[in-house]
């Protein structure tokens, strides 16, 4: 290699990553151009058009691509966004009082393989024994109708019913009473204001901190929403860039936690965050936001189980096949 590697890197705003973006933690021998746009646009343009060389992207989508043998994207096991999806499930409070009421109901999702939908279905199964076949799934846009056909994933069992929402968005269907619930990564404004004012549409889990705690203790996992990935082309030009990007993201993450621990400087203004982190550590381990593969086995195993139940991956796909290039280099 002669001179630093130049590439574009699309990533949203995260306190654990900001040091890489603003240059306080440089990526060694690299000249990244960072691009920040709304998340759906960054993800879409990376997957559909390869508009940038490195990108934050949906973890479920990344794993699904790897599982279907697509070799064109190489992942970095660093995780900008991790969330319990208890806060992605919105219900009509006139019909759904407890999660078990969803059995036999109609739930709107933006896409079968959407991360919030995959993790949402998984938690309904794990915590309330509601299987995918116990619900009728409506797939479509949140604010606009979706495409007329739904693509059934290759391994999806026949007993799962999926219907395309073609005349209205799922937001409108929910308000019209044609759905009991929606599982969406980002609530539309009408839903958000209804949740805030305790209107007709609410979060399934009124006490979501408690629901998240129970799920965390049951599964030991911290769901991954987003990973980082690069084009095969960039990787082929300089395979070691995988290690250098990972190293910078890991360093930035460590510096965040070092600042958080240095309580005498009061740089992070969250009262009693140490008490909160102690309860999280008791459930998922000392490192509460691990990167890499080893520290994330419980989360990966859970996600692969959910993706298998959703028919997105086949029975033979294993944890080792998610980040093989990284594991060979760094694992």
């Amino acid at each position: 290699m002669s001179g630093p590697l130049r590439f574009t890197f699309a990533i949203s705003s995260y306190d654990h990553i900001e040091r890489v973006v603003d240059g306080r933690v440089p990526i060694v021998n690299a000249e990244p151009l960072f691009i920040r746009l709304p998340i759906p646009e960054m993800f879409r343009r990376f997957v559909a058009r390869r508009d940038w060389d490195v990108s934050e992207m949906s973890f479920v989508q990344y794993a699904t691509l790897r599982a279907t043998g697509d070799p064109n994207i190489v992942g970095v096991p660093a995780f900008p966004s991790r969330l319990y999806r208890q806060t992605a499930i919105f219900v009509r409070s006139d019909r759904i009082r407890v999660p078990e009421d969803l059995r036999g109901g109609r739930i709107g999702i933006v896409a079968w393989a959407n991360s919030a939908a995959v993790w949402g279905r998984g938690l309904l199964a794990d915590m309330h024994a509601i299987a995918a076949a116990d619900v009728t799934w409506y797939q479509g846009g949140v604010e606009r109708p979706g495409r007329p056909e739904v693509v059934r994933p290759r391994w999806l069992p026949d007993d799962v019913t999926m219907i395309a929402a073609t005349d209205r968005g799922i937001e409108e269907m929910l308000w019209d009473g044609d759905l009991e619930a929606i599982i969406v990564p980002s609530p539309p404004a009408t839903v958000e204001s209804s949740v805030r004012s305790r209107g007709l549409v609410r979060l399934l889990y009124d006490d979501y901190p408690e629901a998240e705690r129970a799920y965390r203790e049951r599964t030991g996992c911290l769901p991954i929403m987003h990973t980082v990935a690069m084009t095969r082309e960039l990787y082929d030009r300089d395979p070691d860039i995988l290690r250098r990007i990972y190293a910078a993201l890991e360093q930035s993450r460590r510096e965040y936690f070092a600042e958080l621990a240095a309580a005498q400087s009061a740089l992070v203004p969250i009262p009693w965050v140490d008490e909160h982190l102690a309860t999280v550590r008791a459930a998922i381990g000392e490192d509460v936001w691990p990167y890499g593969v080893e520290g994330n086995r419980a989360t990966f195993d859970t996600m692969l189980r959910y993706a298998r139940h959703s028919g997105l991956i086949g029975p033979d796909f294993t944890v080792e096949q998610i980040y093989p290039e990284w594991q060979e280099l760094c694992g």
Binding site: D15, E259, Q264, P269, P271, W272, V280
Partner: protein, 264 residues
Amino acid sequence: MSPAAVPVTVALPGYHHTAELVAGIVELAGMNPTFVAPPVAGAEIADLPLLDYVTRRLGGDDTMTAVPVFPARAFVLSWIHAAGDARRVTDPNPTATIYARGLLTDRGERVEAIAVAPRSAVRGIPGLQPLFDEPGEAERADYARTGVYPILSVIVVRTELLERERWLASNVFRAFEVARRRYFARLADIRGSRVPIPSVAGHVRGLRSVFGPDLGPYGLEPNRATMEAFVRYAAEQSVIAAPPDDVAELFADVEPFVDYTDGS
């Protein structure tokens, strides 16, 4: 930015709730700021330990005037250790030590040999015993009773600049308040994890039962009890001669913050 914007050097540690000011996402309206890490002599705007500011000001030095912005604060009962023989441990934050001694006195407890530092800072030092087994419970109970959320630092502005530009104090106040609110909105975001703390939105929501809807607001009135406790403690501990008649004397008068999120 207008070419006539007032150039200011701002000495500010890397507080996460002021990061959007430093990044230029939140504007210090009318100013052209250069951010530097403290300590910096000669900065027009600076983050100062509350103790330093109060002693200087009450000692007759009015070079700098505070705006009621309090970036660093912490509940400090968890910082208190019975020091045993290890009395030479330096307290890293003298402002926190004043609060700690004052709060202990108010609770009717003995305060002799204590060291005041976060547990993470003194882990492994022999002879130090945390005074409280469940400090969080004690801190919440104290806060519910007294309304004191210890203030460790305050934003100060060169007095001569405030006299020259009568709008500037309120603009500084507003910018810090907007950045603080935006930080807490990031914590509460259920769409993505803006900070790497699992379930942080739920943790912050739970804090409403302690603080009400706003968590650590700036401004004098919501912080009056905390400021009054500090100057009383400082006087009781002979750090200052006497508390001021009104803690408002320590601050520039600023326009209260109004959220015009829907307008411009």
